[in-house]
Assembly symmetry: C2
Homo-oligomer: 392 residues x 2
């Protein structure tokens, strides 16, 4: 029924806004992109970007939701409020960049994950099977007058997939190479990779969450050092490895060793995880612990790359974790033959890639093009993702 | 952009499935309707219907969500699970009625309200401003292969409306009369009316929640008589009015006396409400209390009809409350000049009307036609409602 609409949508370049709010709650990333279809390929050009901080009240409310210390009315309230916040920030970005809001033709937002737990994660720490993001598409569409696509994970989950990762189709179209094996590594709260052998086809792509990104390090920095995060990894660098704890982490972590498809979240890599691991190890919560968890995080990324991808690839690193220079050094140590690229690619700043992904996914959904990759999510087939809210 | 699609959608009769799950959690009502546009009017024909009981586990989970004794993972789980349940029941209805599922062209579902609190409800019992329904459109679309529309209240709320009531546009098109003043009265957990003077225009329609429907009576029946509800109002009939409590209810209720637009929910008419009122009155929780609350419920409906509608209209009653014969007698007592119709209208069984409403609203959304009525919700303008999930 939608053939005409979709054909028309794909017939010319579209200005699409993408919004990402990661599990680290470090802010609202907004990217405005010009996207077009060129035969079987796509073009994407970043037109404007910004990262806006969460107002303290919003951050606290979302952290409370993640920490499960809210009541139903607070969850419902945050669901609506987040859309008001997005609207405000889109307006602000348009103002800063002198973009006419009415030229934006679609918005794609991920929403704030407050729970992600696909079936394969059933283990000692949790036992449910779904993914749950806050943010209301209809509210944002009504407030902006722009069609909004959100709720990108549900369709893939309904087809038996993990509902994650979603970046691989973006990586496939915009980062694969005809001359090199490429790994896109994003280190947010959770770390994930997309591995694309040179000249690969869609079905050759391998992608999955490798395990923790900044999540455990941020938690220790927050709890034991009263810092938002360990800047540059300086605190970790000042400590020493606790061999027993490192061994415990390697042995007792039940996620790292799983074969893909796999995805994980803060439900597993929580403060309970840290307590569980440290109680099995020894010592107090200090620089040495942070050193050990930083090393473990780097090790877990490298371990997954060695085992399920390619330890000699070009590794393009995005996400806040790339700024942890100590962890990046450790990663190089574990992957001596890889070419690790932590500086931004031309036209795709490392700090905004995830927001660009959701602009691209919204573009695909409106064009009637599947956004999931069954080879990486485990879904039984490709599907168009998300729910669309059309304003008047 | 969607002109072609919408024009085509409206160009012929469509088979649409509507799903309603009320605040009483008494089951999942499903109506399959054939809907068509005829000039400025619409035709609707009920093709199949059924009410399916909630499985005990689902009902308990949803009741826990409403009662706010759940954690985030349970809310997220219920959100997804509800769509699986809908899919199962749609399949079952199609099987019973020998309808080919692939002939259904759209599904509209209301979702399970776990919190409804528009701004105007800020009062002694709650202080938030949104409406929150569970059920995932993308999941249901993927599972059935049918486009799904849901999340009908958010757009109206974003325009400053109550996000409720939503039935009036249905009532306007299918129940108004050229010869009589008509009131559509639905008595679910909450009671609401749509008042349509004879030959009225859309902007003449008045509609709002009158206050409690079965919610307080069910709560007392459940807590003090271990019954799901007071069948036929028999327990209430066996009791006597407590004049002091009746007076307290009339005086202390802050909703009944408000002028429309107004909407309310279980957030206000909760067990706290009952305790608050009875503590101010006298006696124990017994038949006399149930009698008094039943009388108060009938009185509150009549009071609103007298004050804001028309006490001499034809009143078409739908919803479970119409089976409470004692309350219906009391309503007649309070409205001696009204023509109260509690038996089903031809082709619109009283027990399935609400599900038909959501089939119609989904039809309107896909046709690009606004579904809210600003004169009743208080929104600043008409708007297309909901979010659409298209399967492959």
């Amino acid at each position: 029924m939608l053939e005409e609409f979709r054909k028309n949508w794909l017939s010319k370049p579209r200005l699409v806004c993408g919004i990402m709010t990661g599990t680290s709650l470090d802010g609202v990333d907004i990217a405005i992109c010009r996207i077009e279809k060129k035969g079987d390929e796509f073009g994407i050009e970043l037109v404007a970007k910004n990262m806006f901080p969460f107002p303290k009240a919003a951050k606290d409310a979302l952290q409370d939701a993640i920490d499960d210390i809210v009541n139903i009315s607070e969850v419902g309230f945050a669901n609506t409020e987040l859309s008001y916040l997005f609207k405000e920030y889109i307006n602000e970005l348009c103002k800063i960049e002198s973009i006419d809001l009415s030229n934006i033709e679609a918005i794609g937002f991920h929403g704030q994950t407050i729970y992600h737990s696909p079936s394969q994660d059933v283990d000692e720490f949790n036992d449910s099977q779904f993914s749950y993001q806050l943010g209301c598409g209809s509210t944002l569409a009504t407030l902006t007058g722009i069609p909004v696509v959100n709720n990108f994970r549900a369709a893939d989950l309904a087809l038996g997939g993990q509902g994650a990762p979603l970046a691989p189709i973006f990586d496939y179209h915009f980062l694969r190479s005809s001359t090199d094996d490429v790994i896109a590594l994003n280190i947010g709260g959770i770390a994930n990779i997309t591995y694309m052998p040179k000249n690969c086809m869609k079905e050759d792509v391998i992608a999955f969450d490798t395990g923790p990104g900044n999540v455990l390090l941020d938690e220790i920095a927050r709890m034991d050092f009263s810092k938002k995060f360990d800047r540059n990894g300086d605190i970790a660098r000042s400590g020493n490895l606790i061999p027993e704890l490192f061994k415990t982490l390697k042995n007792k972590d039940s996620y790292i060793k799983k074969s893909p498809p796999k995805s994980t979240g803060r439900e597993y890599y929580s403060d309970r995880y840290i307590d569980f691991m440290i109680n099995e190890g020894e010592g107090d919560y200090n620089e040495d612990h942070l050193n050990t968890f930083t090393r473990f995080t780097a090790w877990s990324i490298a371990k997954n790359i060695k085992q399920f991808a390619n330890s000699e690839a070009n590794i393009i690193v995005t996400g806040g974790g790339r700024k942890n220079t100590y962890m990046m050094e450790l990663l190089s140590e574990y992957l001596p033959n890889a070419n690790i690229i932590t500086k931004s690619l031309k036209k795709m700043p490392a700090d905004i890639k995830e927001a660009m992904v959701f602009a691209f996914l919204a573009y695909l959904t409106l064009g009637g093009i599947p956004g999931n990759m069954p080879s990486v999510t485990g879904a039984e087939r490709e599907t168009i993702l998300g729910s669309i809210s059309f304003p008047m």
